[in-house]
Amino acid sequence: MPGMRPSPLLLLMTALVLAFLSLPMLAALWLSFSPTEVLHFPPRGFSLRWYADFFESERWLLATRNSLLVGGATMVVATLLGTAAAIGLHLGEFRGRAVLLGLLTLPMVTPFIVTAASMFFAFSLIGLAGTLPGLVLGHTVVAVPFVLVSVLASLSTFDGAMLRAAASLGAAPWLAFRRVLLPRIWPGVAAGAVFAFATSLDEFVITLFLAGPGQFTLPRQMYANVREYMTPTILSAASLLFLLSVLLLLVTEALRRR
């Protein structure tokens, strides 16, 4: 309850659960600086050799490149589509809005493996499976709902009458969008874009099915290596990805506060 002081018991339980949530990742982060190949806890010493290993390995760098490429493209496509859909849903008055919103957010509540398998079937039929554009489209499908929700939230205080006012003053739709609408909603759009990028960066199952045989992204490369041979290099890759997600989270939090 807002404003009620939590009881000590509640605080203790919360602290324990939060410790459970945070400790594994912190431990993995620490272990990635381990000087030895066998993972002891606590690590006996400190070394950056696994990070060096990561940045010297052609495979890891290629996977990083692929991840950033697919993430960037997904971000652009998903942000454009999600923002357009949000504006349409907010300003438009038509039957079936609720249904449309439900449909657009469906990927959020569909088991991931089902989304991934369906996309594999559909994309195989039209020759998109195994291609980078196909992979970007696949990631876009799961990223759009996040953009949509984020932009809708920032639109909730926006009155469509302002656009009509701009139009009556002779502003072309594009100008009205840029001068009137965009300044109001850009934090929501930007937060959605970051979320889309993060979604693509983390996505694994769709990538497993849709990526071409040689197209390794960071998660896919990690998975292949963990199953074969667990080395601390994987932990350094995991730590880098983790730090990147934390960074992206802080960016969206900052945007939300604007």
Binding site: R5, F20, S22, M25, I113, A238, S245, L249
Partner: protein
């Protein structure tokens, strides 16, 4: 093989098909082998009954040696062609749709007479699998809600900036990737890994435990991964609750337990159900975590979908399993929606 299909469509499935079907098969299978179109049909037939792939290929390769009347030369090549059952299966495989995969994904099969029946127990797999998926998902959901509720209540009750800081501690794992967190657990739970080191150091165990490859490891890491998903919708609802209800209850003399049970719990229930729904929907589709941390008896439906897609290239089975999984998830979502009168996604933001 269009002519074979046409000849078989005309056939009434009684006795053996007409000579036209034999002739069409003999010619078209050879051509299909030459043009390398035979694989898909061979695989499809073989899924109906093991060994039919070999039969079809043997027939296709023997095309040059076969002569009319084919109704005699084909059974002479292999006695199976003299069995009406083979032709019935071929006719079925040529059809545009089949219920075969949907049946098999529930451990069912169709007999020669078209009757639906359970497969022999030594082939039954998928019912166990769906039940296991359901059970694991429910366990995980229950654990996430029980562990998440106090955190959500605490975040809702704390004053800024403490509430934001606590929320951030939930958001950080929420944002980091499932694979990263599964990998972290994989590193921690190794035989010579930190968790075993710690337990040995504390004297709780005498020799390292096998943790990877157990159901425990799967449950532990799945709960860890999905906990934020359960917490966030609960926070969303609890933070918006009107505290006047509580004050009113307190001023009417209700004790803490009564306040919790009669006011707080019912009011936060929509959030709890939304969090549970999200957790469950994600849990039923979990693939990486069981694949990395589970043993052979811990794999869920998702593992088999992936296996059929990437390894065995049996898309029919993958699609059938996906359809049932989606139905299972949909049923639970609908149930929760009926309970709350709200969509899980709607309460999320």
């Amino acid at each position: 093989m269009p002519r074979t299909r046409a000849a078989l469509t005309a056939w009434d499935e009684r006795g053996l098909p007409p000579e036209a079907a034999f002739a069409a098969l003999a010619e078209e299978s050879g051509a299909a082998l030459q043009d390398r179109r035979i694989g898909a049909l061979a695989q499809r037939l073989n899924f109906e009954q093991s060994g039919l792939r070999a039969l079809l290929l043997r027939t296709a390769r023997a095309q040059d040696r076969l002569a009319a009347p084919y109704a005699e030369s084909l059974p002479a090549l292999d006695a199976c062609w003299g069995d009406p059952e083979t032709w019935r299966l071929l006719r079925r495989a040529g059809g545009p749709t089949t219920s075969l995969y949907l049946l098999r994904a529930l451990d069912l099969t169709r007999t020669a007479e078209g009757e639906v029946r359970r497969v022999p127990p030594d082939q039954a797999l998928f019912r166990t699998l769906f039940l296991r998926t359901l059970w694991v998902s429910l366990l995980v959901t229950a654990a996430c809600v029980l562990l998440g509720w106090p955190v959500a209540a605490c975040i809702a009750a704390l004053r800024p900036p403490w509430s934001s800081i606590t929320l951030l501690l939930v958001l950080v794992p929420f944002w980091s990737s499932v694979l990263v967190r599964s990998t972290a657990w994989f590193a921690l739970l190794q035989r010579e890994g930190p968790v075993n080191d710690l337990l040995l150091f504390l004297g709780a165990i005498e020799s390292p435990l096998q943790l990877i490859g157990t159901r425990f490891a799967v449950l532990l890491s799945t709960v860890h991964i999905l906990l934020p998903v359960a917490i966030l919708p609960m926070v969303g609802v609890m933070a918006r609750l009107d505290r006047r209800h509580l004050h009113a209850a307190a001023s009417l003399g209700a004790g803490p337990w009564l306040r919790f049970r009669r006011v707080w719990l019912p009011l936060s229930l929509p959030g709890v159900l939304a969090g549970a729904a999200m957790t469950f929907l994600l849990a039923v589709g979990f693939y990486i975590t069981p694949a990395l941390l589970g043993g052979e008896r811990d794999q869920l439906v998702a593992w088999f979908i992936a296996q059929y897609l990437t390894r065995e290239v049996n898309w029919g089975m993958a699609a059938a399993l996906s359809a049932y999984l989606l139905a299972m998830a949909g049923a639970v979502a609908a149930l929760l929606r009926a309970l709350t009168g709200n969509t899980p996604a709607g309460t999320r933001a």
